[in-house]
């Protein structure tokens, strides 16, 4: 069943899908990659954002992307709060945040799931917009607009965050805090404040990512569970805290998944991506674009 067109198609769709994966993972790349917070509730926050977008779209007819932008400040505050709670419970007390941190965020994720169910019910939800359900003809190929939107947003997010982290004072401080907290303290900056800010940004980004999630496919309250593996896979494969690395790793994952899906049989697709992750972890534990040399 192999043909060149199919392969080309798989690659194009895979790149677009990869960009979508990058968009939903890039917040985690900050919170887990740079700040070392084992944020397994990241996908739950993401789904929550999707429901926020759904709410605005359904009741006020707001465009999903705009809705995503609108809830961003709210999520920023939410992130500040969540980090404060995490800091007070774990980092302040010092040792062994690992397991308990994971358990803590699992608890948070479950609570979010239930709150969504209580508010919106268990049925799946989706949004309407002009670009949902349409496609773009390119020769013989047809590319769904949804994925083009995901592509544009993901690339924009990556560029913005990369610039932010390298060009602004706060951004550089965030990267510094990831590498050497003591040095930063000596410089007179408060690492906790900076980390909190960074976590806020990581959560704020989820507003947009949540909009993409519900644009690309319908959501339901327990959808977060499928995304735990996928988002961590992307971030770890990328190497912790590299924004452009996240994009590249996500694209690799997307392309690999789509090629397997299209040409070899869909049922093995998840195994392939996670086998790749295991391979990367075994050979290059610091990830493909890791910050540690």
């Amino acid at each position: 069943m192999f043909s060149f067109e199919l392969l080309l198609d798989a690659v194009v769709i895979g790149v677009l899908l990869g960009c979508f994966y990058a968009a939903v993972s890039i917040g985690l790349s900050i919170s887990f990659g740079l700040l070392d917070v084992p944020h397994v509730a990241h996908p739950a926050f993401l789904v929550l954002a999707s429901y926020g977008v759904y709410f605005l779209n359904e009741h006020y007819g707001v465009d999903p992307l705009l809705a995503g932008l609108l809830i961003t400040p709210l999520f920023f505050l939410f992130g500040l709060l969540a980090y404060r709670l995490y800091y007070e419970t774990f980092e302040k007390r010092g040792s062994d945040a690992g397991v308990r941190g994971i358990a803590f965020f699992f608890g948070i994720a479950f609570i979010i799931e239930v709150l969504i169910i209580l508010q919106f019910g268990v049925d799946q939800r989706s949004v309407t917009a002009d670009y949902v359900g349409q496609s773009w003809r390119l020769g013989d190929m047809r590319i769904p607009f949804r994925l083009v939107v995901a592509f544009v947003v993901a690339v924009a997010l990556t560029i913005l965050l990369t610039l932010y982290l390298s060009r602004t004072f706060m951004g550089r401080a965030i990267r510094a805090v990831a590498q050497d907290q003591e040095a930063l303290r000596l410089m007179g900056a408060n690492p906790i404040r900076i980390k909190q800010w960074a976590f806020g940004i990581a959560t704020a980004v989820l507003g947009i990512a949540g909009a993409l999630l519900i644009i690309v496919a319908p959501v339901e309250p327990t959808l977060d569970r499928t995304y735990i593996g996928r988002t961590f896979c992307v971030v770890v494969m990328a190497g912790l805290g590299s924004m452009s690395g996240t994009l590249v790793a996500a694209i690799i994952l997307g392309v690999a998944e789509t090629i397997v899906l299209t040409l070899f049989g869909a049922s093995w697709a998840p195994a392939i991506s996670f086998a790749m992750l295991l391979g990367v972890l075994a050979v290059r534990p610091q990830g493909l674009f890791g910050r540690r040399s």
Partner: protein, 413 residues
């Protein structure tokens, strides 16, 4: 030591609490588990509401055998691992009089041997071929599946009549869809069709564009899809975006989800042209005694309960389960399980979804599954599905309300 007493203590509390209330009123208790959380929760909640409407109706009529009817319902979290303990609780602690099965196959499968061993009647709830290996002679499925292959053959028949010679199978890698795909494969071989594409996709698949490109490249005449709610939407979107090819005459078959109100509302015009299985539709031939009244009540209560506002797929069959039990108890005059089973097996039962007769294996003697084509659907409007003509019944002949429009691309317009 401490461990054991703690354990024993909790059981004692659980038993006590429920036993004492039971003695006071002595209603007829119908026990079941139903998914309130997890992947099956959407269906489970709608189905339960159907049964609850029946309970209220029968109690308004004075109950059964002069006793009130009470439901004892627990959440099985859509999982197979919860139901054995729940049904043991229902049998041994709550001492329920009648058992209903949970919604869907997975939670039901582990119960079958237990129920058979206890000699209890079990009213099934939309599971698929769950009794074929166990062979419990007191099992009755409320779902209109009928013989295992009737489902696929009705769809493929339509395809063959429309001139289809080759078929593509796309199925979710989960139990129900895989069972459907298996029968479709067998029927296709029997009909002499060529299977040009046969794939299972994992439940976590987000994006279907890639799979559909591959499917399109195989150039099938008929596309048989067996999918679950989240994927059904994804597949239809991708079909709309990628296209499926002009040679496809018939598309659909076994897509779960296209019966649920919110899913249908979300998909809107993307549904047009799809021929899919269904259980109940608001077409003229589908109304029986009590059907209209049922949906009036259901529609009101669905809003408060935040469940499927249409509820065509499962809820009337939940109600029908109740009706069948009601008729059996009235006819037999007791709660004797064997006598009830005998009555259910040997008679035809009048229900709001039409007359039901059971075959020896506890499935419907004749399939009541309809194949219907979506027509003239607009976006974001749930009320349109309540009017006839939106889902035109093509099969079976006695319920038919229109003819198939082919090819698929033409029917989509």
């Amino acid at each position: 030591m401490k461990r054991r007493t703690l354990l024993g203590g909790t059981f004692a509390v659980a038993m006590f609490g429920l036993a004492s209330t039971a003695l006071a009123q002595q209603p007829i208790k119908i026990g079941m588990s139903m998914a309130q959380t997890g992947g099956l929760a959407g269906g489970g909640k709608a189905s339960l509401l159907g049964i609850e409407v029946w309970r209220d109706d029968v109690n308004a009529r004075g109950g059964l055998l002069g006793r009130k009817v009470e439901l004892v319902v627990y959440d099985d979290k859509s999982s197979a691992s919860e139901t054995p303990a729940i049904y043991s609780k229902l049998l041994d602690v709550d001492k329920v009089d009648i058992l209903f099965a949970p919604y869907a196959t997975v939670p039901t499968a582990p119960l079958m041997p237990l129920v058979k061993q206890r000699g209890m009647l079990l009213m099934g709830n939309f599971s698929f071929q769950v009794n074929s290996k166990v062979g419990h002679d007191m099992w009755f499925n409320n779902a209109p599946w009928g013989p295992a292959d009737s489902w696929a053959s009705s769809f493929l028949d339509l395809g063959q009549k429309a001139g289809g010679k080759s078929i593509a199978l796309l199925a979710a890698d989960q139990e129900f869809a895989q069972n459907l795909a298996k029968t479709a494969r067998e029927v296709a071989t029997k009909l002499g069709m060529q299977v040009v594409f046969d794939q299972a996709y994992p439940p976590s698949t987000v994006e279907f564009s890639g799979i559909l490109r591959a499917l399109k490249a195989a150039k099938p005449d008929i596309v048989y899809v067996a999918s679950y709610p989240p994927d059904s939407a994804g597949i239809l979107r991708a079909v709309n975006e990628i296209g499926i090819g002009d040679n496809v005459k018939l598309f659909g078959g076994g897509m779960v989800g296209l019966q649920f109100g919110t899913v249908m509302e979300n998909l809107g015009s993307l549904l047009n042209g799809v021929v899919n299985y269904n259980t109940w539709l608001p077409e003229p031939n589908m109304y029986n005694e009590g059907t209209k009244a049922f949906f009036e009540t259901y529609t009101k209560r669905a809003v408060e309960a935040k469940v499927d506002p249409l509820g065509y797929y499962l809820a009337p069959y939940g109600y029908a389960s109740g009706q069948m039990i009601e008729q059996a108890i009235k006819a037999v005059g007791s709660l004797d399980q064997k006598a009830l089973a005998k009555y259910l097996r040997e008679n035809t039962h009048k229900t709001i979804v039409g007359p039901i007769t059971f075959a020896a294996d506890g499935e419907w003697k004749e399939s009541g599954v309809v194949q219907a084509q979506f027509r003239g659907i607009k976006d974001k409007n749930i009320e349109q599905f309540r009017t006839p003509g939106r889902q035109v019944i093509l099969f079976p002949a006695k319920l038919k309300s229109g003819d198939l429009i082919t090819p698929f691309e033409a029917a989509r317009k």
